[in-house]
């Protein structure tokens, strides 16, 4: 049998062609050792298990979380034979495997993004309450979707909900979630809020929502976001980057809209309040009118009293000055031929004169008249 003879270069090319056919893209799970980053861009490490170890190569941009020795990861990529440095596994994406590594990866990423200020409280925006239009990012076939829409429909009305259905776990999930966030942000009529949610699952199932790209997409959304991942106890970093966190999909629905039953009760209450307020205003005006009436009538009464008093005092003065009162004091009026006698010069012997006293009248015939000077 004749052996195929290659030059070294041809042999390397042939191996790579074989790799391309046999392993166009594969995932390898193993523990990271000898991790190092060269020139800030190139990443080298070994992936090992109890039986073997392979060299891996990638760029820092493909790392979805900070990697350290000892982490167990699932590396997605293809094998490659380099013409100078030999075999390496060229990685396109990595995911942490197992709770320990996920926890460690989450902690490292959290520390890094915290330092960048991505989770700062002052980045949180308020949301319109209730919103008019909702952009919903979840799997349209999931229990999370069913829970969210059930509670939303129970609580509120008139909402326009745009569902952008995405994979919520697995290798493709982060890109799909980012794509959906981008879609809504670039829309000419963006929704009022974005709801990003999924139900419970294992730490690996929920991982997509703690990947750096999803966290950054959530933090970078111009539309306010509410993120609800898993059950009460579950936690994802994109929740920390969102404007509002909800514990479950149902809880997200409870947070973003009021309960129509409560609002109906409030409206019934408002109806009473508004009638009561108008009644109060009427009472207030009626009281004011009564007060005006009282003031008006009391001012007229006091004016009449004043006039009466002044009339009384004038009447007594007049009375004091009347001739009758003067006669009472002992004076009398002398008349002759019905004319007042003002001087003794008018009197002659034999004249009949009238003497008017206060209580009687006398006619007197005069004897001798002796006039004496004053």
């Amino acid at each position: 049998m004749e052996l195929i003879e290659f030059s070294v270069g041809e042999f390397v090319d042939s191996i790579n062609q074989t790799f391309d056919i046999a392993y166009p893209i594969i995932a390898v799970v193993g523990e990271v050792t000898n991790f190092k980053i060269s020139k800030g861009s190139w990443v080298y490490f070994d992936l090992k298990d109890d039986e073997a170890s392979i060299r891996c190569f990638t760029s820092v941009y493909k790392l979805s979380f900070p990697v350290e020795d000892g982490m167990v990861i699932k590396a997605v990529g293809k094998p490659k034979m380099h013409n100078l440095y030999g075999f390496s596994f060229n990685i396109q994406a990595i995911n942490p495997v197992g709770e320990g590594t996920i926890k460690k990866a989450t902690d490292l990423l959290e520390k890094k993004l915290l330092a960048e200020g991505l989770f700062d409280q002052d980045r949180k925006r308020s949301m319109p309450y209730p919103p008019d239009r909702i952009g919903l990012i979840t799997s349209g076939e999931s229990a999370a979707y069913a829970d969210f829409t059930k509670i939303i429909n129970e609580r509120w009305v008139g909402l326009d909900i745009d569902l952008f259905s995405v994979l919520v776990q697995g290798d493709k999930a982060p890109d799909e979630i980012c794509n959906a966030i981008k879609f809504f942000n670039e829309s000419s009529t963006p929704p009022d809020i974005l709801v990003i949610t999924r139900g419970g699952g294992s730490a690996e199932d929920l991982w997509a929502f703690s990947t750096e790209k999803v966290i950054r997409a959530v933090a970078g959304s111009r539309i306010p976001t509410i993120v609800a991942i898993g059950h009460e106890i579950d936690f994802s970093l994109s929740e920390k980057a969102s404007d509002r966190r909800a514990s479950t999909p149902s809880n997200a629905a409870e947070i973003i809209v009021p309960d129509k039953k409560q609002i109906s009760l409030n409206l019934a209450q408002n109806k009473k309040q508004i009638s009561q307020s108008l009644e109060n205003i009427f009472v207030q005006y009626r009281n004011e009118l009564t007060r005006y009436k009282e003031r008006l009538s009391s001012s007229i009464t006091s004016r009449i009293d004043n006039l009466k008093q002044s009339l009384d005092s004038k009447a007594s003065l007049l009375k004091a000055l009347s001739p009758a009162e003067i006669l009472k004091r002992g004076y009398s009026i002398i008349k002759k031929n019905n004319k007042l006698v003002r001087s003794a010069d008018e009197l002659y012997e034999g004249n009949v004169i009238g003497l008017q006293f206060y209580d009687s009248f006398a006619e007197v015939k005069l004897g001798t008249v002796n006039i004496k000077e004053k």
């Binding site: 319109p128 008019d132 799997s139 829409t149 569902l163 109906s264 409206l267 408002n270 508004i274 205003i281």
Partner: protein, 65 residues
Amino acid sequence: MATKDKINYNQLQEELDGILSQLQEGRIDVDSAIIKYDRGQEIIKKLEDYLKNAENKINKINPVR
């Protein structure tokens, strides 16, 4: 609910709150109070009808997956 029937809930609720606080404060002439009262009742009616009759609309942007 068709878009044409759609009301701006927040705007109406805000207007109602304003009317309530003006009427409760009481420093308002009777004529304006009656106008406010009528408007308040009208808003309450609109909101009640909205809560009773409006529906949520779900629009699926891409094939569900």
